[in-house]
Subunit: 306 residues, 6 copies
C-alpha cells in the first residue's frame, strides 16, 4: 500500500493535470448555505406569519418587515458582491463591486411587492385547481409547487437584475427539495399552477402565459446539442399560451414550438412541433409531427434530426 | 434608491392588500420541524435497532418502547392540538382541544402494531421483487420506497383519525426526500412495492389492492379541473386490483378507471379508461381508449374532454 | 384508552412477532450520517477550492490533501469495518476485520486520481452539452447531474472493492438530493452527461459507453419479477453504446437490450428490444418491438411476457 | 450484578423515599436556557452595536429596537408565566397568570432606559478606576465586572417587580461565568466598579452607596445560621456608604454593620462591626472589633457568637 | 517571514524535542464532552423532574429510569474502558478491559440510591442554612454549591471504584462552572452545605464530618512541596469534625491539622495547626499557631517551615 | 402600559443620550467566538494528541501541523485586522491593515515553539509540585492552572506583538473558565505553577521570576486609584523573585513592592511593601508594613494612603 506521502503526491499531480477541476488560489464562490438562509428569510417576508416561529402581531408588523429587510439585504449584498467578483465577463473593478452589489440588493428588495402580486395569483390557481387542497393555508405551508414557484419568482428577479450564479444556485436548491427544475431565465405569467411537480423541467428561454397548469414529469425543454456554448442566448425552449393544461410526463421541446391558448395536452406525449390554439392532443393524435424541420436547427449545433 | 422606511411601507401595503397570503395576529401553524422529528422517532419505534445510535438490548427493549411512546405521544399531542386549533371546520371549543388532542395521539399510538403488520409485508414484497436487494436489512435501511411507504402508513392512520394538516405535511416531507408523493387519504393493501420511486404520484381517493408493484414516474391521478373545490370528496383517482405491475412513467387517471387483478401495464402508457383483469397492455395496445366519456365528468368541473 | 404499560406490551409483542423488522441485540449498521460527511469531504478533495470555506492556497495544497486523506481514510475505514462485520456472507473473522477495512479504505484512496480523470471528462461533456451553462465552475458547483455522477464514481470504486452496503447508502443519498438513482454496480464510460436528471434510474448491471447523454426521467432498467433473489447476478439491465442521446422519460429495459453507437432515442419511448447503431427512434418508430422474447427470460422469474 | 430491572426498582424506591428531591407529575420549572438567551439579547439591546453580529446602522436603529423588544418581551413573558405558575405563595389563579406575566414583562421592558442610565455610570467608573483599561469599548466588551453588574441590574428590576425564581437563576448564570455572586435583592448605587471580581459575594439585603469600588474576593455577607428560614426578610448584610474602596479578599458581615462614606478597607480584613466615615482600616487596625454583640443576633438563629 | 513549510518544520522539531507534551501515535484520552453529557444525565436521574425538558409523569417513571440507566451505563462504560486502557499502572490486558469497564459502570449505577441518600441531607442543610433560599426547589435548580456537591458525590463513588482520570475530569468540570474545587478523593459526611462557594478548595485526603458549613474562598489544603510525587498517598489535608462552620476566605492546611466538633472559624484565618472542639477562633485568636512543627513534615518534601 | 412604539422611542432616546454605550454605524469589534475557536485550535497545536478527536499518527504529523497553521493563521489574521481597524491610536491606513495583520499573525505563528518551550517547564513544575497529580497527562488534560498559563503564554506573545484588544479577550476567556485572571502584559518566568487557581489575579505590570508557585486567591495587584488613565504605563504591580511560594488568598500590591528570591508567603497576608530574599512571612510577621510611603504614589492618583 502507498504511504500517506505517496497518496498526497498522486493527488497533487492530479490537481496539476486538470486545472479545470481545481480552484487553487482562487477566492470562494458564493456561499450556498448563506443563499439558502436568505431564501428561507425571504419566504418569511413574502408570507408573513406562515413560517415564523411566533405570531406576527399587527402592532409589530412594521418592525418585523424592517428587521427582515435589513438582514436579507445585508446578506444578499455580500453574496452578490462575491458573485460579481467571481464573474470575469461582468468586468467590474474592485471599487465598483461594493456599490453595484448594494444597489442590486436594494433594487431586488423593492421588487418584493411585485413578487407578492404574482404569488397571490399562484396560490389562487392552486386552490382552484386542486380538489385535495383543504385551504390556501395548506397550499402555502406545504405544497412543493408553491415553494418551487416562490423560489423561481425570487430567482427570476435576480436574473433580471443580471446577478450571476446566484439565481441558478437557489433554483437548484428548490430543485433538490421538490424535483422541480425551473430555470430562473424562464418567463412565467400569473396564476401558474404546478401539481405534485416531481420531474418538471422548464428551460431558460421558455415563455409561459397566464393561467397555465402543468403536472409532474412535464418537460419544457430544448433539443439536444453537443456544441452547447454556440447556442447560448438562442431561444431553445417552447412558448406556452394562456389557459394551457399539460398532463404528466409530457415533453415539449424546441424554441420554435408554440402551444396555443386553451390547449390541453395529454400525458406522456413527446412534442417537437407547434400545436394550434384550442386543440386537445394525446400520444395518438395524428397531427403530432415528431420530425423536426432540420432547417430550423443548424445540424452543426443540434443532434436531433429524425 | 428607496430608504429602509420606504421599503417597509411598500411591503406593509402589500400585506394589507393580500390578506390571503398574510397571517398577521394568527397563532402558528403546526411545526414542520417537530413533525419531522416525530416521524424519525416513529421510524425507530417501528424498526427497532435499525435507526438507533446504539444496540437495542433485549433486556432494555420494554424501556426503549416506553421511552419512545412517551416522547412521541407527548410531542404528537401538542402538534395535533395546534392543528385542531387552527382548523375552523373542526369546530372544537378551547376546552375540548386538549382532550381531543391527547385522545387522538393515544389512539394513534395503539395503531403502531397494525402499521408494523403492514410494513412486514411491504419489506417482504421489496425483497422478493428486487434482484438488486442484498438483504431485508438493506431494504429497510436505505430503500426510498420503503421510507415513503412507512411515512404513508403513518400518515394514513392520522388521516383516518381525522387529524387535519399533519398527515399532508409529513407526506410532503417524504415527497421531498424521495420524490414519491402518496396522498395520506389513499388506501393501499399489503405487500406494496415501489421500486426507485422518483416521480410517483398516488392521489387522495386512489384504492390499491394487495401485492401491487409500481415503478418510478407512475401517476395514479385525477383528471385536471379548474374548479377544484367543487370536486372535494368525489372519487377522482383510479382503483388498482391485486397483483398488478405498473412500469415506469405510466399515468393512470380518473376515479372510474379500474385496473383489474393481475394486470401488467407497460411503461409510458397514458390510461384514462379501465383495463380488464389479466391483461397486459402497452402504449400500442389497441384496446386502450384515450378519450374519456364526457358524461362521467361534468364538463363544468373538469377540463379534460377529448 | 390503553395505559402506557399496555401500549408497551402491544408493541413488544409485535417485535417478537416479526423478527425480520426488529434488530434486537444486534450491532449498529453503518452510520449514514458519517457516510454523508465522508462524501462531502471527498467532494472537497476531488474539486479543491470549490466546496471549501476558504481559499486553498498553492503553498498549502499538499497539507490540504494530507489532512483530507487522513480524515477520510480514518472515517471510511471505521464504516467499512462495520459494514464487513454486519455482512454474514463476507465471512471474515474478528481478527481479519480491522486489516481488511484499513486495506480497503487505503486502496480506495489510491483511486482518487482515477476518479478525477473521469470527472474531468464529465464536466467537459456537461459544458459542451448545455447552452445554459455559463462556466464549468457553475457546472461543478451547482449541477445535480455532476453531483450524482461524482457520487456514482465514488460508490462504483467502493463497489469494485467489494465493500458491502456503503455504496448503496451513498447512492441513495445522491438519489435523495437529485432524484437521480444510479446503482453503484453500473459501468459508465467517460464524458457522461446527465441534464436536469430528476427521475433517472440506472440499474445494477447497466453498461454505458463513452460520450452518452441522458435526460430527466430516463430509465435504464430491468423487467419486473416477483422472484427477485433468483435473478441476483444475472445481467438484467441494458447496454448503451457510445455517443448515444436519450431524451426525457424514455424507458429502456432488459439485460439483452443493446442500444448501438450513435443512436438517438426520442422522449417517452418504452424500449424492450435492441436498437441498431446509428438509428434515431421515437414512440412511433415502427421498428420498435414491444414484446419480449419469452425464451430469453424464464417465465418463472419474470412477470413481463406480452 | 443487578439486572436492569433491579436497578430500576432501586432507584424507583429512592424516588418514593425522598419526595423533596423528586418532582414527579409536576410542570417544568422555568427554562434556564431560555433565560440565558434572554439575557444575551438584553445585553444587545442595552449596548447596541457591541454584541451584534453586524453593524447597527442608524437608518435601522428603531427597527432593531422594535425587533429586540418583541422577541425579549415574548420570551420573558412565557418564562415569567412559568415562574408564577410554579410559585405557590404567589397565589394566582390560572386565569390571572397570563395577564400578570405579560404585564410584568411589559413593565420590565419600560425600565430598560433606567438600566442604561445606571450602566453608563458603571462604565465610567470602570474607565476611571482601572489604568489597564484601554477604552470604554474594551470595558463593555470584555470586563467580567461590567457583565456581572449588567446582569445584576437586569435581575434587580425583575426582583423589584416580584418575579419569582428568575432573578436568582440569571444571577447564578453571571456567577458561573464571572465568579461574582450579587444577589438580585441587593441595592447598589451609581458608579459601581468591580475589578477582576472572582469570589465577590454581595448578599440579599446589602445596601451599597454611590461610587463604590470593590475587588476580587470581597464578601458583603451575613453571619452564619442553622435556622435560615426564620431569618427570611431580616436585614442580614452590611450597608456600604458612598466613595468606599474595599481591597481584595476582605469580608464584611452582618446586617447592622455600616461602613461610612469615604472609607478605605485594606485587603484580607474580616469585619463584623461598623467603620466610621473617612477611616482607612487594615487587618491590624486596633479599632476593628471581631466579636459581635450577641444581643444583636438572637442566638437561636445565628451560630456566630465569639 | 517563514514559509508554511518552515513553520511546519519548526513545530515538528519542537514535538520531537519535548515528548512529554506530545502524544503522537497514542490513543485518545477519555472524552471530556462525553463525560459532561453523562454528568448532566446523571443529574436528571438524581433529581427527576428538575432538569428534564418535560414533566416526568408517574405512569412513566420506571421507563424514564430505565432509559436513563441504559444510556448512562453504556456511555460511562465506554469512557471507563478508555480510561483503563490509558492507565499503565492499572495493568489490565486487552481482554480484561471490556469486562472491567462494564462491571465498574454497573457497580456505579447501583450506588445511585446511596448518592440520593446523601444529597437529600445536603439539600436540607442548604435550606436550613440560608435565609435567602425561597424553596428547596430553588436550591436544587440553581445553587452552585449543590451542583458542586452533586458532582463530588458522583466523582467520589467513581474514585472509590478505582476509576482513573474520570473522577478528576468531572470534578474540574464542576470547578469550571462554580469555582468550587473538591477533590474526588475527599471524604465528606452528610448535611454538607457550601454557601456561594467560589474559591473553595478541598484537597484529596481531607476528611469532613457531618453537618459542616463552609463559605466561599475556604481552603482545606496541603502545605506546599516541590517534590510532590514523593508525598502521593500521604494524608496531607486536614480533618474537620461535625457541626463545624468556616467563614469566607479562611485556609486550613496540613494533614495533621484537626478541627474539632462544633468549632466556628472566622473569616480570613490561616490555620496550620489543630483547633480543639467547641472553640470559636478568628484571625486574632492568640491560640492560633502559625508555625508548623517541622518534625511533622520532612523538610526534604515540604517547603513550609517557618 | 406603553405601546411597542412608545417603548421603542424611549430606548431610542436613551441611545442618543449616551453615545458612550451605543455603537451605532460602527463596524463590529473582533469576534469573541472566533477567538475562542482559535485558542482551542492553538491548544491542539501546542499539545498534539491531547485535545484532538483522533490519534495523531506519526506518518501524519507534518500534515496535521500544516493544516492547523493554515487554519489558525488565516482566522487570526482576520481578527487582528478587525482589531487594528477598530483601534484609533494604532493609526494604520486601510491599505496598511491587511499587510500588518497578516505579518503579525505570521510572526505569532513563528513563536509557537517558544511557547512550547515554556509550557514544557510549566507542566514539569505542576508535576513536581502536586502530590495529587497522577501523571503529566492528567495535568495537561484537566488542570485549570495549566490551561490559564497556556492562554496567558499565547496572549502574552500577541501583547508583545502589539495586537490590540485580542490578548485581553482571550485572557478573559480563560478567566471565565478558571477564575484565574492573568493580564497578558505580565512577565512570567519558566516553571510557573498555579495550584487550584480560582481567584488569582496577576496585574499588567507584574514581573514573576522562575520556579514560582502560587495558590488560589492570590492577588498580585495594584493600589486602587480613581484616576486610572493617568497611571497608564506606570509600573503598578509587584515584582516576584525566583523560587517564591505564595499561599492562598494573599494579596501583594504595588509597583515598587519586590518579593525577593526564595521567599515563602503564608496565606491571607496583605502585603504592600517589599520582602527580602529568603524570608518566610505570615499574617503576624512583625516586619510586614501595611502603610505605603505616600511619596511613592502621588496622592492625586491613588486612594490608598494609610
Amino acid at each position: 500500500m502507498s504511504t500517506l506521502e505517496q497518496k498526497v503526491d498522486m493527488i497533487f499531480d492530479s490537481y496539476n493535470k486538470y486545472e479545470l477541476t481545481s480552484r487553487i488560489d482562487s477566492d470562494n464562490i458564493v456561499s450556498r448555505d448563506e443563499l439558502i438562509f436568505i431564501v428561507k428569510e425571504l419566504r418569511k417576508l413574502l408570507f408573513p406569519g406562515y413560517f415564523d416561529n411566533v405570531k406576527v402581531r399587527s402592532e409589530y408588523v412594521k418592525y418585523h418587515i424592517g428587521e427582515k429587510i435589513e438582514l436579507i439585504e445585508y446578506k444578499l449584498s455580500k453574496q452578490i458582491k462575491r458573485a460579481l467578483d467571481n464573474c470575469e465577463e461582468c468586468g467590474l473593478s474592485t471599487e465598483e463591486l461594493d456599490l453595484k452589489a448594494s444597489e442590486t440588493a436594494g433594487a431586488f428588495m423593492e421588487r418584493i411587492p411585485k413578487i407578492r402580486d404574482y404569488l397571490y395569483t399562484d396560490v389562487q390557481a392552486a386552490y382552484n385547481g386542486d380538489p385535495a387542497a383543504y385551504s390556501t393555508q395548506e397550499i402555502i405551508y406545504c405544497y412543493p409547487g408553491i415553494f418551487a414557484i416562490t423560489v423561481y419568482r425570487i430567482a427570476h428577479e435576480l436574473w433580471e437584475l443580471k446577478v450571476p450564479m446566484i439565481p441558478r444556485i437557489i433554483s437548484e436548491y428548490a430543485h433538490n427539495l421538490t424535483g422541480i427544475d425551473i430555470h430562473p431565465g424562464a418567463t412565467i405569467g400569473e396564476y401558474f399552477f404546478i401539481d405534485h411537480g416531481t420531474g418538471i423541467v422548464i428551460g431558460e428561454t421558455t415563455i409561459i402565459g397566464k393561467n397555465v397548469k402543468i403536472y409532474q414529469g412535464v418537460t419544457l425543454g430544448g433539443l439536444s446539442t453537443r456544441k452547447g456554448q454556440l447556442l447560448k442566448g438562442v431561444k431553445r425552449h417552447p412558448t406556452i399560451g394562456d389557459n394551457v393544461t399539460i398532463y404528466s410526463n409530457s415533453s415539449i421541446l424546441g424554441g420554435e414550438t408554440v402551444i396555443g391558448n386553451d390547449v390541453i395536452i395529454g400525458g406522456n406525449t413527446f412534442i417537437v412541433s407547434s400545436v394550434a390554439a384550442g386543440m386537445k392532443v394525446n400520444t395518438r393524435s395524428p397531427q403530432l409531427e415528431y420530425s423536426v424541420d432540420s432547417a430550423k436547427y443548424n445540424s452543426e449545433y443540434s443532434d436531433w434530426i429524425i
